[in-house]
Subunit: 354 residues, 4 copies
């Protein structure tokens, strides 16, 4: 109710502040009997963690997940799965500069207004550190989905746009470079651009694209819980996201119906896929693909003026180790949220007909 749960049957609830004792969550509704490979969970956490390359924040957080329940003798038991990730890096910081002031385009002001006060340490609950718990839950969801393959990758950094579409690309290339762009040449350009932005103490936005293959026909619950509506909510709930489009997206608005309609092959597949693998809110078996817009990170390593709680103008100096561009680390988060949506709809679909 208060917004810390996601899903209906396969449901994850999370907790944890950026600089509290620990983050964690509970996965409820994961079917019993699923063999869990914990190394795959840690693998995704490592893809998200700080300090993994030269173009992300250099903070040190090991981000080791500990499962506390719900898995026994290597398999899920059908009971709730509790897990925690201890914050080892949370101590001895000095927050006096943000305690009583509001950083522009952060959640400092709105949390204070909504809740009356806030845990100001490193952004508290509003920090993207929270997404570590999502990655854990998503990694379990991926294992439930077996053959369904979810691949996210960076398709834009600032004005650098990947021209090729996902069918023309070898998506496996994305994991071979720090940017997570499946075109090595473009990846290098993006990497250099991000380094340049960092030197300026500035940040830049970008786009993460995602392709989901081998989706069974029938996932999605019309009318309000259409599959793409759930995917959209999932993506928009990630920190810094400003937009979501699937299939033809915004470009599709410029097309005529006679161009946009996906003609059927005799086996029920379609010749084109402007639909993005979803018709009427239900998967049609074609690839699902979508794009997620991330704004530039709000924390700049620059000095600037802002206001304090009383409305006085104050000077602030951005410091610390922050991401100059969030999209490389957002890739596993996008995949995790997609996995949560798919897992939930996979289970919901099991009770669609008698």
């Amino acid at each position: 109710m208060a917004g810390n749960s996601f899903g209906t049957i396969f449901k994850v609830t999370t907790f944890g502040e950026s600089h509290g004792e620990a983050l964690g969550g509970i996965i409820d509704g994961c079917p019993a009997g699923l063999e869990v490979d914990l190394s795959l969970v840690q693998y995704d956490l490592d893809r998200r963690k700080p300090g993994q390359s030269a173009i992300v924040t250099q903070r040190k957080e090991p981000d080791e997940v500990k499962f506390l329940s719900g898995i026994f003798e290597g398999k899920t038991t059908g009971t709730s799965i509790g897990f925690i990730i201890e914050n080892t890096n949370q101590k001895s910081h000095d927050y006096s500069h943000i305690k009583d002031s509001y950083r522009p385009s952060h959640a400092d002001f709105t949390y204070d207004q909504k809740y009356g006060f806030r845990d100001y340490r490193g952004g508290g609950r509003s920090s993207a550190r929270e997404t570590a718990s999502r990655v854990v839950a998503g990694a379990i969801a991926k294992q439930l989905l077996k053959n369904i393959k979810i691949n996210a990758f960076v398709s834009s950094v600032g004005s650098l746009h990947l021209a090729k579409n996902h069918e023309e690309l070898d998506l496996a290339v994305a994991e071979t470079n720090a940017v997570r762009c499946p075109d090595s040449e473009m990846a290098l350009k993006m990497e250099n651009y991000i380094k340049d932005i960092r030197k300026q103490g500035d940040t830049i936005g970008g786009v993460v694209s995602c392709v989901i293959k081998n989706v069974p026909v029938g996932l999605g619950e019309p009318v309000f819980d259409k599959l793409h509506a759930e995917l959209g909510k999932a993506m928009l709930s990630i920190n810094a996201v400003k937009g979501f489009e699937y299939g033809s997206g915004f470009k599709g608005t410029e097309m005529k119906g006679s161009e946009h309609n996906d003609k059927f092959n005799t086996d029920g597949t379609t010749r084109t896929n402007y639909s993005g693998g979803i018709q009427g809110g239900i998967s049609n078996g074609m690839d699902i693909y979508f794009r997620v817009a991330f704004k530039p990170v709000a924390t700049l390593i620059q000095s600037y003026e802002t206001i304090d709680k009383e409305g006085n103008i104050v000077k602030m100096q951005g410091k610390g180790r922050h991401d100059p561009c969030v999209v490389p680390r957002a890739v596993p988060i996008v995949e995790a949220m997609a996995a949560l949506v798919l897992a939930d709809n996979f289970l919901l679909n099991k009770v669609s007909k008698i």
Copy 2:
């Protein structure tokens, strides 16, 4: 659970097929004591209904709503509000052409696969006729929101884009033309373009923009139920929607943080509003604005080949009275869904602090 409900406290559940007996719904969680002006409900229904202008479908459906419970002596009682809209136009149609065949880019195929069979009459539950119930519920939500003003309007039809942003426009102009575009000159161009498209038996996509003013600070429930995530889901659940962006949206991905950050005024408002009125998933009191992408309607008044249930190629001829462009009638639907999100979050926020 099966997708026919929206909201957590202010919750609407709907039912009804395009050509069944009636559509309708139940609003649960509307606080008691709200004076309801039923003419405003009918006003919004009339804005959505077929036959209202030369550029929308010429079907005749009076779309009169009848409230059955939950309102007494002009006020809500706090109990569930039931309502129906009778389908007066549902009889004597011939559906033999779609009964056993799958129209491209419709939900015929996916409904059949998911549910084993389908109500093929006029698209059944997958028809946008379902949104009439949303408009009713949204019209009640609007009245709960009092001073919060929600204005949607058409900002693109195909490649015709409204250049001005919402602050440069008189939004009231939108309701003075058939397209619902707040720039009369552009409205005329769009109208002529849609007429042209119709003559071709074709359809065209478009974009509906929405601005919400006078939003109190504090609406939105992090982390999964961020206000814009709920708005995004709401919009993506509307038929034919392919994308959603708010604030700076996809364009914001090309900006630097130093450009994108919204500097505070001393009263907590901001000088720019790239954030789109939401920070960290919580409203900050600035205007909320977003854009919703609608694909071209899939029903063409042309002949084409498709497949039947057995995978045979069959010839079909689009006929009937369909919308050449969905966005003019989508305007009140976008507003209704926005109102549902706001009303729900308005109530949720009342229990955020002691």
Copy 3:
């Protein structure tokens, strides 16, 4: 959220006041492809309806249900099932005597306090007339449950207690008499007693027992949603219910573990069934049985003193056609609620393991 929905996957939401236009509801989550026998729905409604015998209220309400969606060509489509029951008897009453006064042990006072005012006509939403919608939804649930047989019956009226337990009785006998007691001799005593009570203008409480046979092993979702916890909530939500016990119930508290433990047969069934067919919140395949306590109806055909809204003492005279004892008509309601719980858990259990 505001309490008018029941269930998680097989979910019913209802609306309607005693003397409004209509009652009704929406069933969401019923799987597609269920062949529905509408005459069985009407059969259960008729078992609940007023005027069916000399010992129930003599009001005339035909209680005919009309399905508006979700059923097509005799089968459920997987979309939401809307239905209404028109109130044909709601007009021209005089409510001046209860408009401003609070009848003792009714909900007049609490509704007024909670909601600020109330629909005073016939009790409004607090009237047991609301349960008609439950019976409709329950009758659909029963059909989903196929072999699972739910039989409720009257086991007490006042101090007249049926001595035999359910295994010693032919439960089919219950439907052969007006009281719905499966022991004809006792039924006659109860019937005469109720007639006597009515002559006094008084009312009397009673107990409805329920037995569920052929339950598959595995229904129920620990830990909070144990099968008996859901059954208990379902029963306690029925008007006038004061208690619920299953299996050994309150008498089981006086037993020793060595007496109470149900020893296994080699096939997994048990020799005794103090557990009431549920272990750890999950059905074990034995008969589920429980008892539901109904208080005496609060409406007396007597004159009495009470208070008005301003706290003044006022005289009231009970009048109209009311039930002297609610349990005969409560039998189909108990069955309906049990069916809703079982249907929901039947579906939930389909996603318990991979």
Copy 4:
């Protein structure tokens, strides 16, 4: 969905097996700004913990709760509250005797059937050890409820029934003896009886009563979520509970309406309180009181025959340190669940009227 959450706005989700790493939970929806006294949480945990007296299990579990998030500078922040209780006593046990066999009247059989296998160590998730998390959440809920006072106590052990009702008793006496019975003389009898039962290696059932004072008028959400229906579900979800009654309960079924109706005083209070503080599912400001039936613990320190997974008869010997009677330790659990229901309804009621 899978049953590990309770509540709608004030919602707790729990995890943890009897002999896993840790138990714990997440409280979502607790309003911000609540000053939390952690010693009161530990106090209730200590009332529940093993080894506290001679008549409960002599296992040693410190049951220390650690809060991981959602509380900052002594106050709740409005974000989710995560907590864990480490299992310090979970190692080096020998479970070979229950691994492949089903103990009578335990959940061994049903868990195995539902989930395909089970964590057999100490009952896994079906162990009442799970209720420690409930007590933590309930202790936070109690603090939110401020003046509302919830007092549970033991009113029966086997056939030893407390004759006096709650108005004739000093409930504070309950916490002065090991049984938690508010009548010292009866407490001594019960204590001796339990000791006697233990010597026999047997167990005995009992009843926990609960009284809630200072309840504001208006709590409860008709029609399905009536306040007593939520209380009933809450109590029935506790391990070993077989029945629930409130107000006049099962005895009320033998009363006439003319006896049972609670006459009003001019201030809206009532002269009698057969209603148990709830009318039409909504609190009326009078004391809420109810009784909860607990069966005898199934684990006996005796030898007996049962079956293994293959249906073979096997000999088992109950061993270890178990409770001979569960009700003394159930008292804080009953209070905790009542507090969760009240807190949730307290918040829900804040949005009942405009």
